[in-house]
């Protein structure tokens, strides 16, 4: 059985620091398995959030070798075990203890976004929608709210603009409603002035780290930016609307 070193961020507040843990590893293990083994054998008080171990609950988000990832979906054979594997908590949110961060900001902001608003029924009294039209918003429903995209977004991570920018996760939440054929809510003004979609400078980092493979930038953020352009920055579009 081989041994690998895991350099884990331990502690609370300013008392936090990296601690190296040697750990026996076996074929088929993921990072979360190693963390659990360390917790069971060497660090019983280590705080780590996890639940499904199947990449569907979004609980075990962390930064593995500097990149936001789910610990349960990162196989050890994808990492260079000849060097210490760094495991840190997410950087875009307040640190609580060890690998656990307070992600409640995301839920609080989500509550402030106007919910789905059902349009009036069609002439036949029903709300029919075709699958081909529903496919687009359904991609965004795959989101497991792991908040890795929020963590890697430099607007939140480096510039801490949580008061001004809602981040990629919540932008796809808005896109999911905006692009739903049964929704008639209009969130474009809020996207421009409240959620400040203009802060996104299309680095595509959110798309890169999404464990569900959602095309956050290409399918949600850029189409929303284009809708904002329609509404506020395109004089020709305004002209067409007048004559329509």
């Amino acid at each position: 059985m081989a041994t690998a070193t895991f350099r884990i961020w331990r502690g609370e507040g300013e008392q936090s620091a990296y601690v190296d843990y040697p750990c026996e590893v076996e074929e088929g293990m993921v990072v979360l398995d190693a963390v659990h083994r360390i917790q069971a054998t060497q660090a019983n008080d280590m705080a780590v959030r996890w639940n499904c171990k199947a990449g569907k609950c979004g609980s075990c988000s962390a930064e593995i070798n500097g990149m936001p990832k789910l610990m349960c979906m990162t196989r050890l054979n994808s990492l260079d075990l000849s060097k210490p594997v760094t495991i840190e908590p997410m950087k875009a949110f307040p640190h609580i203890k060890d690998l656990v961060t307070d992600v409640s900001w995301n839920y609080e902001v989500k509550k402030q976004i106007p919910p789905f608003h059902l349009r009036p029924p069609g002439a036949d009294g029903t709300w029919r929608a075709y699958q081909k039209d529903v496919d687009r918003p359904q991609e965004f429903r795959k989101c497991i709210e792991c908040f890795l995209c929020q963590d890697v977004c430099h607007v939140l991570r480096d510039h801490h603009m949580h008061e001004k920018f809602i981040g990629p996760r919540l932008l796809i939440h808005v896109a999911q409603m905006e692009m739903n054929p049964l929704d008639d809510g209009n969130r474009l003004e809020a996207l421009k002035d409240e959620y400040n979609i203009g802060y996104c400078n299309i680095t595509k980092c959110c798309t890169k780290v999404c464990p569900e493979g959602i095309h956050i930038t290409d399918n949600a953020i850029i189409p929303l930016k284009e809708r904002v352009v329609d509404e506020f920055y395109d004089p020709l579009h305004k002209l067409f609307k007048i004559f329509k």
Binding site: G66, W105, Q112, H117, A190, I202, C205
Partner: protein
């Protein structure tokens, strides 16, 4: 209509402070990609600026350099500023240039490579302040769709140039021939077509703006989406092919390259 009447809440406590520039725990060669983008885009900007100011050697037989097409004027007009050297390329290059500068792919690429905003994902940034694309002059990035309209026009013009590149003057008579240069001239609008027709703004205009899409609209939207999925590759291939085509025409016009082989 929904309205927002509650400002976004701040965090209950602050997240960790911003890391210094270049600081990361990533052990991979994260700096390679932004460096390659910097070198690639930098090389194109330097070459295209030099080529645009040459004002000569842009025609070689039936070939016309894409950096000079369409040729609107061949002589310096009276209104041309005295301090600026005249070149036919300067009259038209702003349009395809503007299309690329405001392109969603290139924006993300040059913000990272030239402005380190961020240099790449999960790496510390050099600046504390950040405006994004909300303020002047980056607000102008929203004009991308207008440059798209021009780029579509240029696509037709370059396809016409490709057609012209098949007709060679032989003893005063136009004759259909295919040379190496013809192939280069044909590949140019094909690559530019892949890039332009996969544009995010075009995707929005042909159907993305609607939540309900009918048959033809949905098919068009799906086609643009298909090209859009590899927009980055089209962007790079077409960029370098434009440069390569100009080099080929220029070397031929200067008499340095004389092997424009006839294929049939």
């Amino acid at each position: 209509m929904s309205t927002i009447d509650v400002p976004l809440k701040a965090l209950k406590s602050p997240p960790p402070p911003q890391r210094p520039f270049g600081r990361t725990e990533r052990p991979d060669l994260w700096w390679v990609q932004p460096l390659l983008v910097f070198l690639g885009l930098g090389a194109f900007v330097v070459y295209s600026t030099w080529a645009a100011f040459q004002g000569d050697f842009y025609r070689f037989g039936p070939y016309l350099s894409p950096m000079y097409s369409p040729v609107l004027l061949t002589t310096r007009p009276g209104w041309w500023p005295a301090f600026l050297p005249f070149s036919a390329a300067l009259l038209i290059l702003w349009a395809p240039g503007g299309f690329r500068v405001t392109c969603y792919y290139y924006r993300g690429a040059y913000y990272k490579a030239f402005w380190a905003d961020p240099a790449t994902c999960a790496v510390g940034e050099p600046r504390k302040s950040y405006w994004g694309e909300r303020k002047w002059p980056l607000l102008l990035q929203n004009s991308h769709r207008y440059f798209l309209y021009l780029a579509l026009l240029f696509l037709v013009l370059l396809a016409h140039d490709a057609w012209n590149s098949m007709w060679f003057m032989v003893n005063g008579v136009k004759q259909f021939q295919i040379h190496l240069g013809t192939i280069i001239m044909i590949v140019d609008p094909i690559l530019l077509g892949g890039y332009t027709l996969g544009c995010h703004s075009l995707r929005h205009l042909v159907g993305g703006r609607r939540d309900v899409k009918g048959g033809a609209r949905k098919k068009t939207y799906d086609c643009v989406t298909c090209l859009n999925g590899v927009h980055m590759r089209w962007a790079w291939f077409s960029l370098f092919w434009v440069m390569f085509t100009d080099i080929y025409v220029r070397l031929g016009a200067m008499g340095i390259w004389t092997h424009d082989w006839r294929l049939f």
